[in-house]
Amino acid sequence: MTTWRLIFRSLRFYLRGHLGVVAGVAVGTAVLVGALAVGDSVKFSLEAVAERRLGEVTLAVASPERFFRAELADEIAGELDAGAAPVIHLNATAVNSETHTRANRLGVLGVDKRFWRLGGADVLLDGKASREVVLNEPLARRLGVRPGDSIVLRIRKPGLMPNDAPMSGDAETAVAMRLTVKAVASESQFGRFSLRAEQVAPMTAFVPLEILQSAIDRPGRANMLLLGKGAKINPKSAGAAMRKHWKLADAELEVRELPGGYGEFRTDRVFIEHPVEQAAKKIIPSADGILTYFVTEIRCGKRKTPYSMVTAMGPLGNREETQGFEPLGLEHPGLSFDIKDDEININKWLADDLQAKVGDEIELEYFVISPTRKLQTRTSKFRVRRITSMDVRDADRELMPKFPGITGVKNCKDWKPGKYFDPRRVRDKDEDYWNRYGGTPKAFVTLRAGKKMWSNRFGGLTAIRFPLSTVSSRVRGDMLRAEIDPASVGLFFRPVRAEAVAAGKKSLNFGSLFLGMSFFLMASAALLVGLLFVFGVQQRSEQVGTLLAMGFRPGQVRRLMLAEGGVLALIGGVIGTFAGLMYTKAIILGLGTVWTGAAAGTSTIRFGVEPMTLAVGGVSGVLIALAAMWITLRGQMTLSARQLLTGGRVAPSSGAKRSEAELVGALLHSSSSTHNLRSAPVEGATRHFGLWFGLVAVGAAVAILAVSAGNDRYAPTVFFAAGAVLLIGSLAFVRAWISRLSRSVEMTLAGLSMRNTGRRPGRSLATVALLACGVFLIVAVGANRKNPLTDTGKSSSPTGGFALYGESALPVPDDLDETEGVRFRIHDGDDASCLNLNRPQRPRIMGVEPGQLRGRFTFAKTIGKTDDPWRLLNRIETDGATPAVADQATIVWALGKSVGDTLAYTDERGKTFRIRLVGALAGSILQGGLIISERNFTGHFGSESGYRAFLIDAPPSEVESLTRTLTADPGLADVGLELTPTTDRLAAFYAVRNTYLSIFQALGSLGLLLGSVGLGVVVLRNVLERRGELALLQAVGFSRSVLYRMVLYEHSVLLAMGLLCGSLSGFVAVIPVLRSSGGAVPGLSLLLTLAAVACGGILWIYLATASALRGEILSALRGE
């Protein structure tokens, strides 16, 4: 005989009784494994999505506004011995030529065969100039097209300089292409390609690279460089290769020689960027800086000259500007730069036109673009220092940079410098000047004065001149290239694969989420396991007593029982682990069908589980079951051998005092049968303790509510806490009440039932507590659903009081500026809303003028107290961080941060800067991105022009007509403006939260169902224990139906108490939700859930009673 032999003998003998325990452990483990496995599956799916969207792409240069040489890709690929592809990536809209079905906000990729190779796919387009397009599946589906159909792509045509730059021209910003669909690329054919860490596939059109280059007038250029896998591929080596191979042309810089032995740096972007200026200053201190600007009017008194070039010149280095500065390359007579910052040299033509003479005051009028992209007229006054001759050399003409809309245009009247240009003001003499002198400046000021007037975020010079006395222009060019960090001009690699891996790894932890949502289900399973196990042990109480009498110590018997339970837990754990896999598949099916909202409407989640997860889940399930057994067993082993051998019928000795801890423990936890052994004083003490405890708890709940009255900020937490305390208090009252029941003297059937209810106070309380906790959670959580249609007109509501939200593929023309509302600049990035399962690595940035949002939305939290939280965006942070506001869901769930935290971000020059979260918006439609001030936005992403997101104000009665008007506007349709009622956008976000609540409610209800099985077990146990008594009652004339009723009454009271305590406390917890905007208690579904629980409970009571009273009850009497 060995201990294990005894254990296995017991397991076999009590097999039927153990099945319930095994089933309970299996359910608990299955739920646990299932929750963890769902988490694994989501991660697995996101990794799979990352694989599909990136193919072999490891690093990428993605610089939407910069076009480098496409050959750069081959040069770097050769250096690193890896695949590389130059790509043009632009935003676009598409229309089915036949049905006119439209797709907004899609990406168009100009690719060649190198791209497909990186995706490990067949070459669907070879990049040659054929008028064909390949669509990915989502786009083809949206447009309803098949191979052979025709579509029109409207693509944003990037300008030579950013649209926001002064004098960026008034040219068309989009180009239309009619193309034939050649194929539809599936995900396995690299149709899923995207650099954004989002699980929802983007809509993409693939166009031959050459065709796209030609369409946007950028032959041989690309704005995206993809680098594949390779042994040498890492950001460091790629950065080194970039430094080695990049050319000035990749930053759209050119170096040229001017007559007279001078060289010049200039750029197609008009303005030389500040890092380039700094580099030039460093390598050629003797260089001159030139800033030529287009002024709208030059005035002298009442006389005016329209539309002229004015040049500011001066030394780049430390030469003193005002003392004998001789501009390089401008050695014609009379042009001395011995002028001060408030003086101006004008040419003779202008002096004649204005009849100005030396000493006269000249006023320059010009346009600048404000940070909010409003054209602003500015004027500056100068005094005429000299009048220069008209002996103009070629160099003078070259002072004018290549202004889009001016350079190369034959007549002044045909200029298109911007909407401020009025051709009617152009006189014949102006045309004549243009014909004779071209863009030769009519006036000169100092560089310092010029920079003060015209320097902007795009640059402060239009050319840099330097002498070529010792070195050639080419050498100077090389020197400049060596001095510039290519990252500072946007040529830097992003570790896109590492970002994708991180996005998947740190993605929303569905495992934890489902663990949380399944908590009650698991707790119910654990409680059921504990109940079933301890009831099994109680059935063997005489056996335990015998072992104790034979000299086994209580600990030894407990270990013996626990070992037996351990084997059961192990069996249940193994079954549960396998069942968990099925459960996982069921949840995934749910996420793909009824709960699509939780996974942002995607069906991309596929089953994928790590063996370690199964092991962890299985072992945890077993350990939880063991813990439940140990806790319940601990209470059981407090009985002596004497008590156990007599089946607990012996009264305790005097002096056998119970400690207060035992009382509390018994009050709140135990379901063992020991409590009927209590003496009257002990019961009395318990009753009083329960009453006082209940009173204190209710008092505490009231106090919590009173103290927090008026503080809406923490209302949800406070009310939940108050509800929870009230729940504990009500259970204490129930405990006291149950104690009182045992002393009931009224001898009616109901009275007898009540007295029976009080016989096992611990067991009765456990039953009530289990039901009450379940109901509390279901009510408290269920009532947290949000209805997006409530109070949306208020400025403080989640919609900010705006009626429409618009987002466009291409920057929206200024027409929309006339509409009432708020405009946002967008730096595309990962969606950081709850619709994205990935952890965003580069969240989308939105730039806004903070003043426009004053009084809009509600802040859940800010970094400091302020009347206008939006002004926090203008804060100057001591550490130089950029202040940002985001929706609370974005901060907490998407980014895993909190207000006050910072995150690192890379600007368009590859420079890392920090963003500090200064405010969290309470559940708003601005989820998904970080909002920074427009000033900071243009500082970090200066080359990104235009507005692409809009919040539009409109009275409710006009929303529909406004939407119709804006949607019908061909200009807005071309830029792919998509308008959504803010309530719809809010509903999409709430859908996620509401789906989580649905899942919680569904799993919670399952838990409650399991809890009601526990109720059935308790009933069964109670009735079986009292079979003799019931037989006696039958013997003295009680009919079977009366016995049924009696048992039903006594347990229905427990059921009713549980429902009542849970519902009341639950409703207290959700009072703030009922009061809040958008709060919508799903009364019907809650009522149905509670009714189902009540019905289920009664059913279990009935079944358990029927089972226990089955057969000949009187035989039990004979047994007695």
Binding site: E542, M550, F552, R642, A651
Partner: protein, 231 residues
């Protein structure tokens, strides 16, 4: 009486609280008793007189409200639960009115269960020998459910003796048996008492069984009175 009795109870009192009644019920009132090694003693008395309580106190399953219990020179009131369990496993054997055999184990396994906490060498051989002695050789692999009431009690006696205790306590061992089985068991217990040298205290209503013991004591009004002297 021996100057060094195996068991010595001195001035034992035992009170019980009764629910709803202010005063406690006093069952044992200054009871004293001495039992020598290998002696057999019967305790008789009316129901509720405290016989089982006394047996439980002797067997360390209950504690007296006051008084001293010495077993083999050890004061049981001074022992902690762990020591008492060890004393029960090595020095005391119990036979209850209901056999309390483990239904999941065979006869042999039931007999050997007490050895799980003593690790006694040769336990299996001793079990076989004792079972043979009580006439259950052919029943060793039977389950309790397959035995008659008398056979179950015989297994319970063997189980009580397996660790060769110094004291065997039997609480109404024949209470649930018919006359023939009762006689059989009574005879067996007396024989084993002599053969094993184990002191035997039997609580019983059966005068037949009590009459087979060396001494017969009656528990009346909380004290023990020699039955012979009553005669």
């Amino acid at each position: 009486m021996s100057p060094n009795p195996l068991l010595e109870l001195t001035d034992i009192y035992k009170r019980y609280d009764s629910p709803g009644i202010a005063s406690a019920t006093e069952v044992l009132k200054g009871l004293s008793l001495q039992v020598d090694a290998a002696e057999s003693v019967a305790i008789v008395g009316p129901s509720g007189s405290g016989k089982s309580t006394l047996l439980n106190i002797i067997g360390s399953l209950d504690k007296p409200t006051s008084g001293r219990v010495m077993l083999n020179g050890q004061d049981l009131s001074q022992q902690d639960e762990k020591s008492l369990a060890a004393i029960r496993s090595r020095q005391i054997g119990f036979v209850f009115q209901l056999h309390h055999l483990l239904p999941q184990c065979t006869v042999l396994e039931n007999v050997l269960v007490p050895t799980l906490v003593t690790d006694r060498d040769g336990a299996a051989e001793r079990a076989q020998r004792l079972l043979e002695r009580v006439g259950l050789t052919g029943r060793v692999s039977y389950r309790p459910g397959q035995l008659s009431g008398g056979e179950r009690q015989r297994v319970a006696v063997v189980r009580a003796l397996i660790n060769a205790p110094k004291l065997l306590l039997a609480d109404e061992p024949t209470g649930s048996l018919d006359q023939a089985a009762s006689d059989n068991l009574a005879e067996l217990m007396v024989e084993l008492n002599r053969e094993e040298g184990t002191a035997l205290i039997v609580v019983t209503h059966s005068t037949d069984l009590a009459g087979r013991m060396d001494r017969m004591l009656e528990l009346t009004d909380g004290v023990l009175v020699e039955k012979d002297s009553l005669k």
